[in-house]
């Protein structure tokens, strides 16, 4: 059999046919996706040039590109990105650790869980953005406040999801460990935690997004640098191209982190194949 890119790996003519169809569809979908993006940018650019879109307010792709290149060249861009990414990573790790710990506590002591329950619901429902000022007072005007905002936004979701996945572990698997005379710690270590791991890892994808939101909110509040700061600053000096560039970079960074965690997830769960 002669194979081309579309039928590589085929096990038989029928399979080749199947793979070709499937891969053609994937190519089609990718094309459609790219088309959407390109059309969007193109319409924006043309609209701005023709004056249909207020290029003063919305800037335009070419200007944003120029701004990007000039800031990259002058080395003023990357530090902002690193700071935001770094804050997100720290907030994300802290939030995940704190949330998981809390979930473990609640799992280990259901009474504690019931006592804390209304407070957790309350804290979860509370818009953390509104707490910003308290954060400044409590954690100062820098890194710590930003990271804490990221933690505050992600911690309860982590606790809830992790605890739920602990609770949903098949009761018979727990019984299995108990029939071997295993105690609570054995149950946790041998069954509950590994069984919940996939869920925990897939929450991380959501969590990194939440942490990022927290960091941006935090940067709006107190930053001296970072992508959130660029937005505030851009508005202050009325450089809307800078604002748009920062927005694009936020999109870019959030996609980047999402995929980094997705990659991590796949690596850690490779026993599933």
């Amino acid at each position: 059999m002669k194979h081309n890119l579309l039928t590589r790996g085929a096990k038989s003519p029928d399979h080749a046919q199947f793979l070709r169809k499937k891969r053609l569809r994937s190519v089609g979908i990718l094309t459609a996706q790219l088309l959407i993006a390109v059309a969007f940018l193109l319409l924006w650019e043309i609209g701005a040039r023709e004056g249909v879109i207020n290029s003063f307010l919305f800037s335009q792709p070419s200007k944003i590109g120029e701004q990007l290149i000039s800031m990259l060249a002058s080395g003023t861009l990357l530090p902002h990105m690193w700071i935001t990414i770094w804050e997100t990573i720290v907030g994300f790790l802290l939030g995940t650790a704190a949330g998981t710990l809390l979930a473990i506590l609640i799992w280990a002591s259901p009474v504690l869980g019931r006592i804390l329950d209304p407070y957790i619901v309350l804290f979860n429902a509370m818009p953390k953005v509104a707490l910003g000022p308290i954060f400044i007072v409590a954690f100062g005007q820098g890194f710590l406040s930003i990271v804490m905002m990221a933690v505050a936004i992600s911690v309860v979701v982590t606790t809830i999801v992790v605890y739920t996945s602990f609770r949903d572990v098949d009761a018979n698997m727990i019984k299995l460990v108990q029939t071997f005379g295993g105690n609570k710690w054995h149950v946790f270590q041998k069954v509950v935690f590994p069984a919940a791991l996939p869920t925990i890892l897939s929450t991380l994808k959501v969590n990194v997004g939440l942490s990022f939101v927290g960091v941006i909110v935090g940067e709006f509040l107190v930053a001296k640098a970072g992508l959130g700061y660029l937005i505030i600053y851009g508005f202050q000096v009325f450089n809307l191209t800078l604002v748009m560039l920062a927005l694009f970079l936020i999109l870019f960074v959030s996609a980047l982190m999402y995929h980094a965690v997705a990659f991590l997830e796949r690596r850690l769960l490779n026993w599933r194949n």
């Binding site: 207020n54 003063f56 307010l57 003023t76 000022p133 400044i136 007072v137 100062g140 005007q141 709006f220 509040l221 107190v222 001296k224 505030i232 600053y233 851009g234 508005f235 202050q236 000096v237 009325f238 450089n239 809307l240 800078l242």
Partner: protein, 314 residues
């Protein structure tokens, strides 16, 4: 051009929180860039709070030693009954820094042209808003009944909202006004500062306890501010622009110069750091007009001119 005679170790660290980053506060950047603070033995750690409330919070929470905010905040803090009052000690700007921007060029501006129109303003209780209402009243325009003032847009977004079609007029801060003009999106037709009279618009302030415990530092700080004020009043806009450019990354020097010129022409920057009683009373009157003054506050309690007077004499 900075004076490096004082060795690094001897410098006293002073944490300053500025309300926002603005060309309006050029004297402060000049004092830093020209080394005036350093030669006084001060090491300034400048931080932008992005909001008067936040800057004041930092001051109150001991996260900053000195804040650069509108003096009205000290009145608010005073009338809410803070035990450790916040005291104004050095004036930076003496007029409102905002301008009235129209959508089209208007040659013979008269405030009554605002009647029946809408104006994008600032939040209720903020100094620009109170000044705006005061100026309107002075010019026979009754706020809210004659002119619809849109008060609900965050400071950051007012110019954007105007440019996207909200309102007929905008109370603009620089560099937004200059950039709007440059882009042909609006035209400055009047200056609020011109019509409001002098007032302690933006000042350096500290907690009373800090002033009491660190008088020498406050004195040195005020001295440096005075030097910067002297520099600004004896230099061309281009020279000032060159000094403060590092603080305004992403702003064209053309715009910077134009804005500085406008402030110089408009007599926005105080010649000295002294906050005199007349100016302060003017501000209280404006606040009273706006209905935001609901307790008696005294000039003596909230203003300290000792340091500024001394700096002026040097």
């Amino acid at each position: 051009p900075s004076d490096n005679s004082a060795s690094e170790e001897k410098l006293t660290q002073v944490r300053v929180s500025e309300v926002i980053r603005s060309i309006f506060y050029a004297p402060q950047y000049v004092a830093i860039e020209q080394g005036y603070f350093k030669s006084e033995g001060l090491d300034i750690q400048l931080d932008t709070a992005w909001g008067g409330d936040k800057a004041m919070t930092r001051l109150l929470a001991d996260q900053a030693d000195i804040a650069l905010i509108g003096a009205e905040t000290t009145v608010y803090v005073g009338q809410q009954g803070a035990s450790d009052k916040v005291v104004n000690f050095a004036q930076v700007t003496q007029r409102d820094g905002s301008f009235l921007v129209a959508r089209n060029k208007i040659d013979n501006w008269d405030w009554s042209m605002l009647k029946g129109k809408s104006l994008v303003g600032s939040r209720k209780g903020s100094m620009p808003e109170m000044v705006s209402e005061y100026v309107l009243k002075q010019n026979g325009v009754t706020p809210f009944s004659d002119v619809n003032i849109i008060q609900n847009i965050t400071f950051d977004n007012q110019a954007t909202a105007f440019a996207s079609g909200t309102g007929d007029f905008l109370q603009a801060f620089e560099p937004s006004g200059a950039i709007l003009e440059q882009a042909g999106q609006g035209y400055v037709v009047a200056s609020f500062g011109q019509d409001s009279g002098k007032l302690p618009y933006t000042v350096f302030m500290a907690k009373a306890s800090t002033i009491k415990s660190e008088p020498t530092t406050i004195q040195k700080f005020t001295n440096a501010v005075q030097k910067a004020q002297n520099f600004i009043h004896s230099s061309t806009p281009e020279e000032v622009a060159k000094v403060i450019q590092p603080y305004f990354e992403g702003v064209e020097s053309k715009v910077l110069t134009a804005v500085i010129k406008r402030y110089q022409d408009g007599d926005a920057w105080a010649k000295d750091a002294v906050i005199d009683q007349e100016e302060f009373s003017n501000m209280l009157a404006i606040m009273k007009e706006a209905g935001e003054l609901n307790a008696d506050v005294s000039y003596q309690d909230l203003v300290n001119t000792e340091f500024a007077e001394k700096a002026k004499r040097q």
